[in-house]
């Protein structure tokens, strides 16, 4: 299985997004420079964290114009699994693969800490191996992770079960205290209508080994490996 890690100028989570699938899971991965136009046969696309193009204009706003983005969109439209992490999530919002926008954290400070992230849906390729209601301990590291969407969009997301992750305390309660940035409905991650595109502010790829504080993020990457293996098995038997 091959992961494509798209590298924008200013990406800084690219090495982490490469390291977790290769060194921890033993899968393959390849860096794809943003000026390229092909994903080179990748099975999964990861848009890593960072500050693409210096976060100039708005976070993720310029990356959507990168030459690689049409390939990413086509891949997503064809049902391919795409995960945007942190700045990658912001890019997915800017390029329209996911709805909504990011505001500055409500206390207008950058936040780096390990937080509780509840898995609300297990019917996406990135959560299939998780338990519904499971609370993952994942790091966040962002200044603009305060998810916002107009009421009708928010309704639609909730109605169709598109909120995948929410900030929660250890007991799984989505309290205001457990919300590090002011996101509406404690939203930490959402998926596309087709469920194959997922964006999340917390960093699962930074939490894949106990040595660095948590291995809870591994389930996100394991999910996609299993989902694709299952899909491959279906194809093989068909």
């Amino acid at each position: 299985m091959k992961f494509a890690v798209v590298v924008f100028p200013g990406s800084n989570g690219d090495h982490d997004a490469y390291y977790a699938p290769t060194h921890v899971l033993g899968e393959q991965a390849e860096f794809i420079w943003h000026k390229e136009t092909s994903l080179k046969g990748a099975d999964v696309v990861l848009l890593p964290g960072g500050f693409s193009h210096g976060d100039y204009l708005r976070t993720g706003a310029i990356a959507r114009f990168s030459p690689i983005m049409p390939a990413v969109k086509a891949f997503a439209d064809a049902g391919g699994p795409v995960l945007g992490i942190c700045n990658g999530f912001q890019i997915l919002l800017e390029c329209g693969l996911l709805p909504g926008a990011m505001l500055r954290n409500r206390d207008v400070k950058f936040h780096c800490e390990f937080v509780g992230v509840r898995v609300d849906r297990t019917d996406t390729p990135f959560t299939a191996a998780a338990r519904e209601g499971q609370v993952l301990r994942l790091p966040i590291a962002h200044g603009e992770g305060n998810y916002y969407a107009p009421p009708d969009v928010l309704d639609e997301l909730e109605r169709n079960g598109r909120v995948v992750f929410r900030y929660a305390n250890a007991a799984g309660e989505t309290t205001d205290q457990a919300n590090p940035n002011g996101s509406l409905h404690n939203i930490a991650g959402i998926c596309s209508a087709g469920r194959n595109v997922v964006g999340m502010m917390p960093h699962p790829e930074r939490a894949c080994e106990l040595a660095v504080g948590s291995a809870d993020g591994l389930v996100v990457l394991q999910s996609v490996v299993q989902a694709l293996a299952k899909r491959g098995a279906l194809h093989a038997s068909a």
């Binding site: 100028p9 200013g10 989570g13 060194h23 210096g54 950058f110 590291a141 930074r206």
Partner: protein
Amino acid sequence: MGFDAETLARHGLTADEYARIVQLIGREPNLTELGLFSVMWSEHCSYKSSRVHLRTLPTTGARVVQGPGENAGAVDIGDGLAAVFKIESHNHPSFIEPYQGAATGVGGIIRDIFTMGARPIALLDSLRFGSLEDARTRRIVHGVVSGIGGYGNSIGIPTVGGEVMFDEAYASNPLVNVFCLGIARHDEIVKGQASGVGNPVYYVGAKTGRDGIHGATMASAEFDETSMEKRPAVQVGDPFMEKLLLEACLEVMATDACVGVQDMGAAGLTCATSETGSRGGVGIEIDVANVPQRETGMTPYEIMLSESQERMLLIVKQGREAEVERIFEKWDLHAVRIGEVTSDGLLRVKDHGAVVAEVPNRALTDEGPVYRRPFARPASLDETQTLPAEAAQPVARPHDALLRLLGAPTVASKRWIFQQYDYTVRTNTVAPAGASAAAVRVKDTPRALLMSVDGNGRFCQLDPRQGAKLAVAESARNVACAGGLPIGATNCLNFGNPERPEIMWQFAEAVAGIGEACRALDAPITGGNVSLYNETDGRAILPTPVIGVVGVIEDAANIVMRAFPGAGLDIVMFGESFAELGGSEYLKTLHGLIRGLPPALDLGRERALQRLLVDLASRRLIRSAQDCAEGGLAVALAECCCEANGLGADISVASVAPVAGVDRLAATLFGESASRVLVSVAPDRTAAVLDAARAAGVPAARIGRTGGRAIRLSVDGEVVIDLAVSEAEARWSASLANWLDGRAA
């Protein structure tokens, strides 16, 4: 003389220095040449006042790969890898413009590391601010912290540790010292050296503007009420540009297409060209017309002296130009050829082909003035070294004193600060903020590196030699507490105006102390930075040498945390307590005084303690380790509990031996005797730990046990502190946020 006194003064040059320039170049310099000498002979670049003292520091050792003189030092960490590290100050700019001053300080030290061909993987900061009661200080703290975060978080290098102290002496002269560490293979280390006559000289990165002209000169003068007018000399940082430069330069350096690389920091293009030239014993010829410029009408003088950020100079091998240019183009950077290496040893600056400056590189870099400035012990020390009557006052309520200390900004939790820094990026950070030293693993090896920065201006104010020794000892002890063997050090020496004999005395004494301690603890100094003239309106900061220590632990899984990990563990204390309250946080917080003599330090005993800690960690015999620093035993114990989810502890100790003029109970609880560490141990291992301590010659005693929900401390059999951990934790963890988010009364 070709220039009037006012022009020379504006360039920070004395008449004697001018005469030396004339003698060195055999004629009167023109204005551009005067500018070159002005910045290169500034205190900041030339170390003219400090050099004779710095020469006495230990800089060699079995593990030293690169000592002082390059962009950063390097030590061997096994497997053919080297840790490349340095600490640098950005004090003056951070007072004038806190956000940009701090941000560009981070940017500058990162460039020093990747210039060596190393991938930067960790940042630490040592900060000093005035009292948080002062609104201006609170603004400076906000600016500095968000500036450090704004740069480090963006570029994706984790800020994994640091330390902060608050004292009125820093109100108009905060200290921002930034430490960066990177990793390189030994054979990949690139030097800031030019060679190969005819090799092209490339400029890459941001365009040159008029910002920061004479920044190095500004950093070499005292401040007064007109200092805010110097704001244009503070540069503006662009972490995005630096991120591109970092990635592109590392990619270029991996090809072996360049012979030398140097960043343009203080003194900009002048420093980069003359230093690479003189290190390589060659000349450099450039034409400033080829230098990319952000503004029109810039003169050669301005271009040579600009300190615009995020610029690099590369000496490329002839014939490899296209390869290098291609890599920079990939990153949307333009590498511009501005000149070439020559054989004549001169820095020749042309403007559209016409020579506008021509001086020997060595005259700029190596033949500047060296001063043996007069020094004298300040007469006032006799009084300040005497303990005040307050030290003899009995502590009426130890419980309240402990709470006050836990809420003191210097002691309180620094979560408010470090939570604004990305410490998780690059997935190397082991136990974020959980050990006495910052820890990053070295991927593809079982090892981890441990890093600490430390310094105590109060101790140094009272006795600079002793204070400096204590700073080295504590920084190394922090590393050893986490299980790391100290292998190298870097220093940032923050002092006042060296032209005043008592400041020069502080400096000389501190350097002597650092040398003595680094020798004893096997931590050679591989580089660093000197920041003088830290004065505003003639009032100097506390003398503040900050010591960064790097250590290595062979198995990252053996790193020892600070907090008690569970109930039912024995608490063992290493070291001895004496009636020492001089320079303590206790006297400062409860009585507002910096008086007395700093604690004694036996370097042989300190070394034995550190080796013992490393040994116990490798044998997994201890469960936690915390040294006793500001606030002494009581604060150390409380901190072990505050970070342990409400877990309590009960210890019992004997009073310190009596000394006239010192309250025994205060000294027992809050004295800051050196070389003491609290460890927790599984009861079935306690005998083994005590045996190991005895064999190592380290005093050790079992003094209590973890458990319950209270911090209980008995002295001579009587309970003197019985405090709910929740109450201590509330005070300790909320203090900085209360001050800085405006919830303070």
